[in-house]
């Protein structure tokens, strides 16, 4: 019984919408435009976010242990006069090695923890790559290449050569693609490097890698850790960094704090290290939702106006319906149904147009430049956003339709009938 009564209000709502097709279509287009923009924007923004997150996360450790020479230390004055009120301005770092003490012992202990997926040592140093008379600034990373591969999947990043060739060649390096391009060198070429201390060495390029991030590909070379120790004229225990990957990277923050306390070194988790990148993600999300919500609010005002106009024009009809026995709730649902139909059809059309836009964007050629290696925009087609889009659209129209509908339900038929 309730069903057929609903059919009557639905029928009246339908007739109202169809009797003013232009007005109805314009109201729908408002919602369509808002939802389409939301789908296209959110697809592009989250596509970019996911893409950069993916390459950033795979190429950076979950926890990075190193010695922070800039960390504050007790001044000599404080050490000799403990408890005294003293102040030393502009304290400079000591000339000390950036060595992580007992690195191999620490790694052994860390490896025993079942949260840990892998641990790899690294020895990094600033170097100059000599290129004719010019010198290019860069860095060399001494690694245990097999461990490094376990952590960062180096094998899949190789453009030329294989990582095993580094094991066979003591004085070999694997060079970032951007750097190789700048130096105009290929696999098999030899290159001279100079350390800040003035030591030089000739190394052979045994492979080229590409991480997909400019800040790595344009400056970095991998070498055997022993090779780098030799260049720097340091002993075989000299390690500057320990990189850790966890099975669940969300535990990194807590575990890093634990390590820091236990081994008295700096241990930085990925969230802290990538703070700026993560802020970027948040800002992009805020922009996406702000723009979409703004568009939907504009669409909502459109619906509000059109519904108000319809109700104003239909005062007499509403009065007669009420006289004939329609309750306030029936009148309200006549107009709520109208706004929900506008919202639903508008939102579904918006999804379709948003999807088409997303496909076009994902096909458009795009040059990521030096920053990230990209030739097309990465676009996210997650159905979750399409669900959110429909819910957004319907909620907007429901909110926009509520006030006019309530006004219609409260119309006093006597006032209208008497006025004639």
């Amino acid at each position: 019984m309730l069903g057929s009564r609903f059919k009557l209000t639905l029928e009246i709502a339908k007739v109202h919408l169809l009797s003013k097709p232009k007005q109805t279509i314009i109201a729908m287009l408002g919602v369509t435009f808002g939802i389409a923009m939301f789908i296209a924007l959110v697809g592009l923004m989250t596509g970019l976010n996911d893409f950069t997150e993916e390459i950033t996360m795979t190429s950076s450790p979950d926890i990075h242990i190193y010695k922070d020479v800039t960390s504050p230390r007790k001044t000599i004055l404080q050490q000799t006069n403990p408890g005294s009120l003293s102040w030393v301005h502009h304290q400079k770092p000591k000339n000390e090695l950036t060595k992580v003490r007992n690195a191999y012992r620490i790694m052994e202990l860390i490896r025993k923890n079942e949260m840990v997926r892998g641990v790899a040592p690294a020895l990094s140093s600033q170097v100059f790559y000599n290129y004719g008379p010019a010198q290019l600034n860069g860095s060399i990373l001494g690694v245990d290449i097999l461990e490094e591969d376990k952590l960062f999947g180096l094998k899949s990043k190789m453009k030329e050569g294989r990582i095993e060739e580094l094991l066979a060649t003591r004085e070999g390096i694997i060079m970032g693609q951007g750097l190789a391009k700048k130096l105009d060198v290929k696999k098999g070429n030899r290159i001279v490097i100079t350390t800040p201390e003035g030591h030089t060495m000739t190394l052979k390029i045994v492979g080229i890698f590409q991480m997909g991030i400019g800040v790595v590909d344009n400056v970095r070379c991998y070498a055997n850790i022993g090779t780098v120790q030799t260049i720097l004229q340091q002993d075989p225990s000299y390690v500057t960094d320990i990189n850790i990957k966890l099975n669940d990277r969300h535990l990194a923050k807590k575990y890093a704090a634990e390590l820091e306390a236990k081994y008295n070194t700096k241990a930085e988790d990925w969230e802290t290290a990538n703070a700026t990148f993560l802020t970027g993600v948040i800002i992009r999300n805020i922009i996406t939702y702000a723009v979409s919500v703004t568009l939907l609010i504009v669409a909502g005002f459109g619906i509000y106006n059109i519904l108000n106009m319809t109700i104003y024009n239909k005062m007499k009809d509403i009065a007669i319906l009420k006289a004939m026995g329609f309750a306030g709730g029936d009148v309200r649902s006549i107009f709520m149904i109208q706004s929900l139909i506008i919202g639903l059809i508008g939102a579904v059309a918006g999804l379709a147009i948003g999807y088409i836009l997303s496909v076009l964007i994902s096909k458009a050629p795009f040059n990521g430049g030096d920053i990230i290696s990209l030739d097309h925009f990465p676009v996210n087609f997650d159905p979750k956003f399409y669900m959110i889009g429909v819910v957004f659209g319907v909620i907007t129209t429901a909110v926009a339709g509520y006030m006019p509908s309530r006004k219609a339900s409260g119309i006093d038929p006597i006032e209208i009938l008497r006025g004639q």
Binding site: M1, L321, G325, R418
Partner: protein
């Protein structure tokens, strides 16, 4: 048998200043009666009609229709009551312009939701035949002449077999031909079908031919 009864109905308007528009109105209407309510313009006829129609609930006194006391009932109950028991005909026809003639007549019955769509359609066609406008059933309602539209409005008022039909100046907007036509229809409805009708009018000729004339003056029933 009485269809409608009021006891001491009074009503006040407070804008622009307090004044009593209905004064102590006690009235009974019997089944099959064709009653006309007459009086000078501004004497309170329409106001009384709106109280009797249950649309106006702001009054003192008591109202009873078809044996049910309606004073103090909530709006939704009164809406449902109007739908089942009262038919309306106004000076202007008030058909819904986007619907066909037939749909307009069917709407109160569909709202009542007691019969199937086919039964309602059949009944609506019967009413249109009684009113002599069945040939226009499938036209948009706004394509009919004023007299035809008013007859459709009467058919609509009849669709739920109401206990009483209330009319406010039903012929006020019609030429004399259509006025006579509507009058004859009302006469036929009351005499053949025992339909109760109360009609506000200031057409003395129209009133003089009804079964009973109730004269109002200054918010009171004087005769």
């Amino acid at each position: 048998m009485e269809v409608l009864a009021t006891r001491n109905i009074s009503k006040y308007f407070y804008e622009p200043e307090k004044f009593q528009v209905l004064k102590d109105i006690t009235l009974t209407i019997n089944r099959g009666e064709f009653l006309s309510l007459v009086g000078k313009s501004g004497c309170g006829k329409s106001t009384l009609m709106y109280v009797l129609s249950t649309m106006d609930t702001d009054y003192e006194g008591e109202l009873e229709i078809a044996g049910q006391k309606l004073t103090g009932k909530n709006q939704d109950t009164l809406s449902a009551f109007r739908n089942e028991h009262i038919g309306f005909v106004f000076q202007f026809h008030y058909l819904l312009p986007e619907f066909t003639v037939l749909q307009n007549v069917m709407i109160p019955a569909m709202k009542r939701n007691q019969f199937s769509h086919e039964e309602i359609e059949y009944k609506a066609m019967e009413r249109l035949k009684t009113l002599g406008v069945e040939q226009h059933a499938h036209k948009p309602s706004n394509k009919l002449s004023g007299g035809q539209q008013q007859r459709v409005a009467i058919a609509r008022a009849l669709i739920n077999d109401p206990d009483i039909i209330m009319c406010d100046e039903p012929t006020g907007n019609l030429d004399s031909y259509n006025t006579h036509l509507v009058f004859d229809i009302f006469k036929q409805l009351t005499h053949e079908y025992k339909q109760t009708i109360i009609a506000v009018t200031h057409d003395d000729e129209f009133a003089s031919k009804t079964d009973r004339i109730v004269q109002m003056s200054d918010g009171r029933i004087v005769q």
